[in-house]
């Protein structure tokens, strides 16, 4: 983090000068140059009271991380990940080719999805703002774009704990959720997570093929009831098949070709019958 690192601090904490309280804080915060750090350590070695204060501050730092670091692992609410409406006007926006831009591509895709579905020009951006009225497949595409590039923690519960995952998601969604197997088609289960939906929690399962290409299956109770056939939408390199049965709405999102996505969707559909 220290882009201005120790160098500017040689002015504030010059080597050889008397150790000040600021030095002790800078020691705790890792903001001292190595030479000065050694001087502070020598200073503390002979002064238990100062060493005690330093230890207390270090304990505070650890405690604050313990309190706040879990926020880093929470799913990012979609309202934060969605672009603000002005961004649609950006000239660079539709050019979304590279893998590094996949994340952005997904946000863009969700923006245009509804227009694509209706076969009409995209509506005014204001009507597309994220919210409970938004169709679930649109949120599914955004959720796909948000979580598939995440190399650190793409899922909350790993695929190695499949039974636990199913139990947990079933409890949170309030209906039995099954985890489809796609290994026969080359995609292993990575795991799953719970996300905020329009009116309640939704489940997202993630799969990856041998090359690391990821698929996500979005499962929501919001759209349940009106059984529909497969529907297909595509934007920004993400293909989405979605359908609804008596219990859930499903959306399978991925970068694979339409035919492959259809085969995968049919497999998921059959398994969940």
């Amino acid at each position: 983090m220290n882009d201005d690192g120790a160098r500017p601090f040689s002015g504030l904490f010059p080597p050889g000068s008397p150790i000040s309280e600021a030095d002790l804080h800078a020691y705790v915060d890792g903001q001292l140059a190595a030479a000065r750090r050694g001087e502070v350590e020598a200073f503390l070695a002979g002064r238990p009271q100062a060493a005690g204060r330093v230890a207390a501050w270090q304990a505070q730092r650890r405690a604050l991380h313990g309190l706040l670091d879990p926020v880093l692992d929470e799913p990012v609410p979609l309202r934060l990940a969605l672009p603000r409406r002005e961004r649609r006007a950006g000239p660079a926006w539709p050019r979304l080719a590279t893998a590094a831009c996949l994340l952005l591509a997904g946000f863009g895709s969700a923006w245009f999805l509804r227009g694509a579905i209706d076969g009409a020009a995209p509506r005014d951006a204001a009507t597309l703002a994220a919210g409970p009225a938004e169709p679930f497949f649109q949120r599914a595409a955004v959720a796909h774009a948000v979580y598939t590039p995440d190399r650190g923690r793409p899922v909350e519960i790993g695929g190695d704990q499949e039974a636990l995952l199913a139990r947990w998601l079933s409890r949170r969604l309030g209906a039995e959720v099954r985890v489809p197997q796609l290994a026969g088609l080359g995609y292993e289960l990575v795991g799953g997570r719970l996300l905020p939906g329009g009116t309640g929690p939704v489940a997202q399962f993630m799969y990856a093929d041998a090359a690391g290409q990821r698929l996500t299956l979005y499962v929501t109770r919001e759209a349940a009831g009106a059984r529909t056939a497969f529907r297909f939408v595509r934007e920004g390199g993400i293909n989405v098949f979605y359908w609804v049965d008596e219990r859930f709405g499903y959306a399978l999102s991925g970068a694979a070709g339409r035919d492959e996505m259809l085969r995968l969707s049919e497999s998921v559909y059959r398994q969940l019958q």
Partner: protein, 170 residues
């Protein structure tokens, strides 16, 4: 605007959420603050022109919005925080959760300017100079606020718990 900068801003979101959570002590207020910050950041990205660390720049936007919000709120937010405790993440043991709750309450009882320094330096790992730039104060002010914040938090925790929560070897 280059897509890379957009991706860089998106990459800041978890850290902005963490800072906002510590600053406000409330899940919803924190995410509202993050949302406002992101909207302003997107709008101003063309003005930024790589003048420094993008994350620090986003923190300074958030800081200004937070201060504006404090001014707009009629009451004294640091006193109100005790009633409206945030949802804490699930923790393995109850004792642990209680300890975190004490810490959270103590943090929210700090004056906002002390809390901001403590979080920017102690949790977000900004350098003192970056923190000074984010807060728009001299370096010496950052150092004195940091010192006061740490002493005060320690005192609040000991007073709150009736017994030391953090190891204090004095």
């Amino acid at each position: 605007m280059p897509p890379r900068h957009e991706a860089d801003i998106l990459a800041c979101i978890p850290s902005l959420r963490r800072y906002a959570r510590g600053l406000t002590g409330d899940v919803h207020r924190a995410d509202d603050l993050v949302q406002d910050t992101l909207e302003r950041a997107w709008r101003r990205l063309s003005l930024w022109r790589r003048r420094g660390d993008l994350r620090a720049w986003a923190f300074s936007i958030m800081h200004n919005l937070y201060v504006d919000g404090l001014r707009a709120r009629a009451g004294r937010p640091e006193d109100a925080a005790g009633e409206d405790l945030p949802e804490l993440p699930e923790r393995p043991t109850q004792a642990d959760a209680l300890e975190l709750r004490d810490l959270d309450r103590a943090l929210q009882r700090l004056a906002p300017e002390l809390r901001a320094v403590l979080l920017l330096v102690g949790v977000e790992d900004l350098s003192y100079r970056q923190a000074a730039a984010v807060l728009g104060v001299p370096l010496g002010t950052v150092m004195s606020r940091l010192s006061r914040a740490r002493e005060r938090l320690d005192a609040l925790l000991r007073q709150d718990a009736g017994a030391p929560r953090l190891q204090r070897v004095k």
